[in-house]
């Protein structure tokens, strides 16, 4: 048993979970979704073990290169999903959300991602690495759920306009998107912006340098601030709200991936 075996078991469990969720989607049998959930949850347990294993083995936080950070984001996403599913019963979002998780896991296991744990460069040797990255990615995981429920909202809304009823009504999807953003926004603010500024001040000597990654997390924050203000103050709901939530997640995704590959800057680690 080692970390990569645990990772593989996790990956397989997630795939099986996705399979059952899709069976549920087409057969409408609630039990299949429950099986899917059980597999996802078991996967989460193994994934947690894999992350702990890696932390012990490498002696540092399990998110210092792209492989680790993708794996951690997948873990955070499943964690967020398990919480939201327990609370709001959004089984129909399960299959689609699991696809995102599978994509993250597949990217992490791609041969392009170096897997070996390398010793930390001086700038990353700080407990702020734990605080900054884990809280930010957990916030982004909730944005990911809001992204899926927002897309499902747009689909459900279009169907309802044609007179079709669904067991997960658009109104509920709209409300769940909001709840996820209401959880994710404070986390993202704390982890991404506040902890990020504190760490930047300690490591680089200034809390804000207009580095592309900093700027894009600010843009992500602006988009979700826009979501909250249009919704709470101006009473927007439904379609317009869902669209902003989708744009917000895409901005978060660009902050996470795009900036690394397209824009050069200080954040050149992961």
């Amino acid at each position: 048993m080692n970390e990569s075996t645990l990772f593989l078991i996790t990956f397989i469990l997630y795939i099986v979970s996705t399979f059952f969720y899709f069976v549920f989607l087409f057969s409408k049998k609630e039990n299949r979704a429950k099986t899917g959930y059980t597999f996802a949850f078991t996967g989460l347990v193994f994934h947690t073990a894999a992350l702990i294993w890696r932390t012990v083995e490498s002696g540092h936080a399990p998110f210092t290169n792209m492989y680790e950070s993708l794996s951690f984001l997948a873990w955070a996403s499943i964690l967020a999903y398990v919480i939201i599913e327990k609370k709001f019963k959004i089984r129909k979002a399960g299959p689609y959300f699991m696809l995102i998780v599978i994509a993250l896991m597949a990217l992490a296991s791609s041969p392009l991602m170096p897997k070996e744990a390398t010793p930390l460069v001086p700038a990353l040797q700080s407990y702020w690495l734990w605080l900054h990255v884990s809280v930010t990615l957990l916030g982004e995981a909730f944005f990911a759920i809001a992204f899926i429920t927002s897309i499902l909202y747009l689909v459900a809304d279009a169907k309802e306009k044609q007179g079709k009823k669904s067991n997960l009504p658009s109104e509920k999807l709209d409300s769940i998107s909001y709840r996820c953003i209401a959880i994710g926004f404070p986390l993202f603010t704390l982890g991404g912006l506040v902890f990020g500024m504190i760490w930047a001040y300690k490591a680089w000597g200034s809390y804000w340098s207009w580095d592309p990654k900093e700027v894009w997390s600010l843009i992500t924050w602006f988009v979700f601030a826009l979501y909250l203000h249009t919704r709470i103050v101006m009473g927007w709901k439904g379609g317009p709200s869902a669209s902003i939530a989708i744009i917000g997640f895409l901005a978060a995704l660009f902050t996470y991936f795009g900036v690394n590959y397209l824009l050069a800057g200080l954040h050149s680690y992961a």
Partner: protein
């Protein structure tokens, strides 16, 4: 004046400004910032001039971006104040006597008839929840203020220290001395840490000594000193050379010498000298020998061998390629030379920064987070009820509002109503 205030209190303006600021911020990541005019011409051709005139090449410092932020701050202030006083009143001096009409217009309301005596009305308000958004706005304004203070009063400098160097600190009375600088490596050769032992000198007397590392800066009198870089001092390196004989595997002589130094090889009647050292050897386009960088990626030394006053060989040897040399021999010799090691001083780059806005930033961040927690984890709701007695029965007219999580509040409200309905 009134119309200006009125338009500044509009949420629509805030939304529009937020969108414009977001788009402008994005633009700044696609146009590289603060590069040389030549680079912009190479990249954008004729547009370069326009970009520079619109300050798109230093967007985040441009007058129009700062003007946008200023307008946005004003907008936040006016919007927050505008809503503040009615909110205060509503929270701390709520009108407890309400007309039935006022409850009926609330989005959620219900009318029940209960088989019990009149009880007292209860109001349920999470006080701080009402002010979550205002606290968030206060935090953001504090952060913006901190940013302005940093922009005006803050400055940064890079100081390059060789061991033993003393630097005056600009705009301050004290001096700083580098006692020692070391680079720690992992077994793989990757850099683990840089450590600069710094001493603060007040009137040339040491008052404070600290080892500065990445992530562990030194703070003194409002100045913060960071380990920001290092470099090699190639002015006077020394090299270690191993001398072997092609025909005699047991022969090995190790010599260590400085640049320009000439050393006699014991028992060989040959002098060896090192004339040049190049840290990152490369042959340039015109065939000239040069260094690609100041990092020791491909160290090479130019050596000469002399027998009395006759030069017998000269050429380059490479640390990375011991079997490959470019030695030109004037006279037969079976000696072979390997560049085994080199020593050179390293200098430490210490960045000093004085940032008088930083404290405002931390306070702003704390206030912002407190506000967010109140706003999202204790969302405010207000429930009102009128109890009226008629013929020994109680008529309950109740209603409620929530500004956030309205759907969640709806089910909460229904629960409350059902509880009242079921109770006897």
């Amino acid at each position: 004046m009134k119309s200006i205030i009125k338009s500044l209190s509009s949420v629509k303006l805030a939304i529009v400004l937020l969108i414009i600021i977001t788009l402008a911020t994005m633009l700044g990541t696609f146009i590289p910032q603060q590069r040389s005019p030549e680079e912009y011409i190479a990249r954008y051709g004729q547009l370069a001039n326009l970009f520079q005139r619109l300050q798109l090449t230093q967007l985040y410092k441009s007058w129009w971006f700062i003007a946008l932020l200023f307008l946005f701050s004003l907008n936040i202030i006016v919007c927050t104040l505008d809503r503040f006083s009615p909110k205060l009143k509503r929270t701390f001096r709520p009108r407890l006597i309400v007309e039935p009409k006022e409850i009926s217009v609330l989005k959620l309301n219900d009318k029940l008839r209960k088989n019990m005596d009149l009880q007292t009305a209860k109001k349920e308000i999470t006080i701080l929840g009402w002010f979550g958004a205002d606290i968030v706005h206060l935090g953001i304004l504090t952060i913006i203020a901190g940013g302005i203070i940093s922009g005006i009063g803050g400055f940064k400098r890079s100081l390059t220290f060789n061991e033993g160097n003393v630097h005056d600190i600009p705009r301050a009375e004290f001096k700083l001395r580098l006692e020692k600088f070391e680079t720690e490596l992992y077994p793989s050769g990757a850099v683990k840490d840089w450590k600069s032992t710094l001493t603060v000198l007040e009137e040339d007397k040491p008052v404070l000594k600290k080892i500065v590392e990445v992530n562990h800066p030194l703070s003194y009198k409002g100045y913060v000193f960071y380990q920001s870089g290092y470099g090699w001092n190639w002015t006077n390196p020394s090299v270690e050379i191993w001398v072997k004989k092609r025909n005699d595997p047991s022969f090995l002589k190790k010599i260590e010498l400085n640049l320009g130094q000439r050393i006699r090889l014991d028992g060989e009647n040959i002098d060896v000298a090192v004339l040049q050292f190049i840290p990152d050897f490369v042959i340039g386009e015109k065939g000239q020998i040069t260094t690609r960088s100041l990092e020791p990626n491909n160290p090479a030394a130019f050596i000469e061998g002399w027998q009395a006053e006759e030069k017998i060989f000269s050429g380059w040897i490479f640390a990375r390629f011991p079997d490959f040399d470019r030695i030109h021999s004037e006279k037969e010799t079976d000696l072979a030379f390997e560049l085994k090691n080199f020593k050179a001083g390293q200098y430490s780059v210490i960045q000093l920064s004085k940032d008088p806005g930083a404290n405002a930033i931390w306070i702003g961040c704390a206030v912002l987070m407190i506000g967010l927690v109140f706003a999202f984890y204790w969302p405010p709701r207000e429930i009102r009820a009128i109890l009226e007695e008629s013929h020994n029965k109680t008529e309950v007219l109740t209603g409620g509002v929530a500004t956030k999580s309205k759907d969640a509040f709806k089910s909460e409200f229904e629960q409350i109503v059902n509880t009242i309905r079921r109770s006897k």
